[in-house]
């Protein structure tokens, strides 16, 4: 079964989007998850709730607000334009930002769980042996939370690949720029091209299964907490 050029473009764009979003989210989500896991601040609850919000909000709602917030008429949009950025809606960059917000909890929660499970005594031992905070993070905390990073990476990637509502709202469906696999399928179905839709859908199904397998293979234990985090269907 061969893919059309536009199919391949969509597949490559999807992978590129998911890879960039996952990388950025792990980078930015790690300090946030560390803070959430270890702080006693009274802001912990509200910030935790905001971080988890994309999990419960309909993607269209997130997409709608982002569209309004990033649009050239909004204050943020104007500010971005002032710095020579944007307008962001209906661009790849806009899609990256939207996807990061949408997939945030899927990266932050596994990391947060891993960090709160960290053995305090290991960190204390490292400290007594002369390791400062940054040294402790990279030499002890990071290797001990490997599994958390693995789960966060897979879930972040898979969830970004699987998003649809947000993409449609903020990205539109522009081939080569914002047309990802899920929106491409939507286009096929709208034009009653079931055969092409079927091909891409099968690819998505196989991909999703393949990516979830290793997740469940690395012991069931840490996944107990992740059940509620399984990518929901758009």
């Amino acid at each position: 079964m061969g893919f059309s050029d536009s199919d391949l473009t969509a597949i490559i764009l999807t992978i590129r989007l998911a890879a960039i979003v996952t990388a950025l989210l792990v980078l930015l989500g790690t300090p946030l998850a560390w803070w959430l896991a270890r702080t006693n601040s009274r802001f912990k609850a509200p910030i935790g709730a905001i971080t988890t919000l994309p999990l419960v909000l309909p993607p269209t709602v997130i997409g709608f607000y982002l569209l309004v917030a990033l649009g050239p008429q909004s204050p943020t949009g104007e500010l971005l334009l002032f710095f020579g950025i944007g307008p962001l809606p209906f661009t790849f960059t806009g899609l990256v930002i939207a996807s990061m917000i949408y997939s945030l909890p899927f990266v932050v929660q596994p990391l947060q769980n891993a960090f709160s499970d960290l053995d305090e005594q290991s960190l204390e031992a490292a400290s007594s042996l002369g390791a400062g905070p940054i040294d402790r993070f990279f030499s002890v905390a990071l290797p001990l939370s490997k599994r958390g990073f693995f789960v966060a990476g897979i879930l972040g990637f898979a969830h970004t690949v699987g998003e649809f509502g947000v993409v449609l709202m903020i990205g539109g469906n522009i081939p080569g720029e914002t047309q990802v696999v899920s929106t491409q399928i939507y286009t096929y179905v709208e034009s009653l091209n079931y055969e092409a839709a079927n091909k891409l859908s099968a690819i998505m199904l196989i991909f999703s299964l393949a990516i979830l397998l290793p997740l469940y293979a690395i012991q069931a234990q840490p996944l107990r907490r992740l059940v509620h985090l399984r990518p929901k269907q758009d």
């Binding site: 053995d119 005594q121 290991s122 204390e124 031992a125 490292a126 400290s127 007594s128 042996l129 002369g130 390791a131 400062g132 040294d135 030499s139 002890v140 290797p143 001990l144």
Partner: protein, 361 residues
């Protein structure tokens, strides 16, 4: 006097209970200090305060010329250079024993007494364990690697929290003498937490007794032990601790004679060097009393002493009798019935018959 502290720690425990620790002490920096007390008394908390692991602690801590903690300053643990050995699970689970030790070696800052790893591995008998991951080691083996790691981090002070509780008797004995060696040979002061009086007797030069969050005694060992009876709640079973000198050996019977202030005792050991100092301990229940020196008894050790005090025991069938001979204090645990039938009274001179004497070094 080189570690001095005045600290106060309050911590909320479960069910709204409040734990409070208060301690003010000065301890020397050349020997081994034991922190002794029952479980839950605050020994570990005190040790953690010294290491800088308890952030809520208030007060001040001075070590040699360094200010570890004062009103407006708090030196974090990684700048205090203390080697800390936890009660269990010390090792980083993702590193082999060797890598665990290397973690410490790579981060040492001072060039003062940099020890040779090989000699430490040998002393602790852990060379064969170095390639293994922590989960492949027994609890006791992990402790030995952790001790090596702490020593090789080149610390200015080593803190140990019941480090040997997971070792069997034989390894425990050997490790205690290794710890004493580390202290003597390399001159690193050690603070050692334990709830076992036997470990205190074997290891300590200085003793801190902590009870219910309060530091009650901090003195050189022998002085601390003579004060122990007054805080009887901590240790009711110890009859006497005696430091003496070996005066003669009887190879025929396998005995040595030890002279102390107030008499002499024979102990079942004929390898002690004549003229060497030994530390002996006797349990209170191994001392029985007689009005006359009974020559027709199998008990070898008979010492004359004066009754100073007769106290009630927690068990109403017994009395605690405090005795003294010259400068040495004894405590005997005797039934109330015997006290009455022998007519024992304060001021009397009696013969102590000592059934068993333990050698602590």
């Amino acid at each position: 006097m080189s570690l001095s502290a005045q600290i106060h720690l309050t911590r909320k425990e479960e069910r709204n209970q409040k734990f409070e620790l208060r301690a003010e002490f000065k301890i020397p920096d050349d020997g081994i200090t034991a922190i002794f007390g029952p479980s839950g008394s605050g020994k570990t908390s005190l040790l953690r305060c010294i290491a800088g692991l308890e952030k809520q602690v208030t007060g001040q801590i001075l070590f040699k010329s360094e200010v570890w903690q004062a009103l407006d300053s708090f030196l974090p643990p990684y700048k205090r250079r203390v080697g800390y050995v936890f009660q269990s699970q010390n090792l980083f689970p993702h590193l082999t024993s060797q890598q665990n030790v290397d973690f410490a070696v790579q981060r040492r800052t001072s060039v003062e007494h940099q020890l040779n790893p090989e000699s430490i591995y040998e002393a602790l008998d852990i060379s064969s364990l170095l390639d293994k991951m922590p989960h492949q080691l027994s609890g006791g083996e992990q402790q030995l690697v952790a001790i090596a790691r702490a020593v090789l981090s080149n610390p200015s002070l080593i803190l140990m929290d019941e480090p040997l509780s997971s070792l069997d008797e034989q390894r425990k004995k050997k490790s205690i003498s290794t710890i004493k060696n580390i202290n003597e040979v390399f001159g690193i002061p050690i603070i050692y937490v334990t709830h076992s009086i036997n470990e205190v007797l074997e290891i300590a030069d200085h003793m801190m007794v902590i009870d219910n969050g309060k530091l009650v005694i901090s003195k050189p060992l022998m002085e601390a032990l003579t004060e122990l009876p007054e805080s009887g709640a901590v240790w009711p079973d110890l009859g006497a601790v005696i430091e003496g000198i070996v005066t003669s050996r009887d190879q025929n019977y396998g005995l040595s004679e030890v002279e102390f202030q107030g008499g002499h005792l024979r102990v079942a050991n004929d390898v002690l060097e004549i003229g060497s100092k030994v530390r002996l301990s006797i349990l209170a229940r191994d001392i029985s009393l007689a009005r006359t020196k009974q020559e027709d008894s199998s008990i070898l050790n008979k010492v004359q002493a004066d009754i100073i005090e007769i106290l009630e025991d927690n068990n109403p069938a017994f009395r605690r009798i405090h005795l003294s001979t010259k400068k040495t204090q004894f405590r005997a645990l005797v039934t109330r019935k015997s006290v009455d039938s022998l007519g024992l009274e304060v001021g009397q001179t009696v013969w102590m018959q000592i059934k068993s004497v333990a050698i602590n070094n």
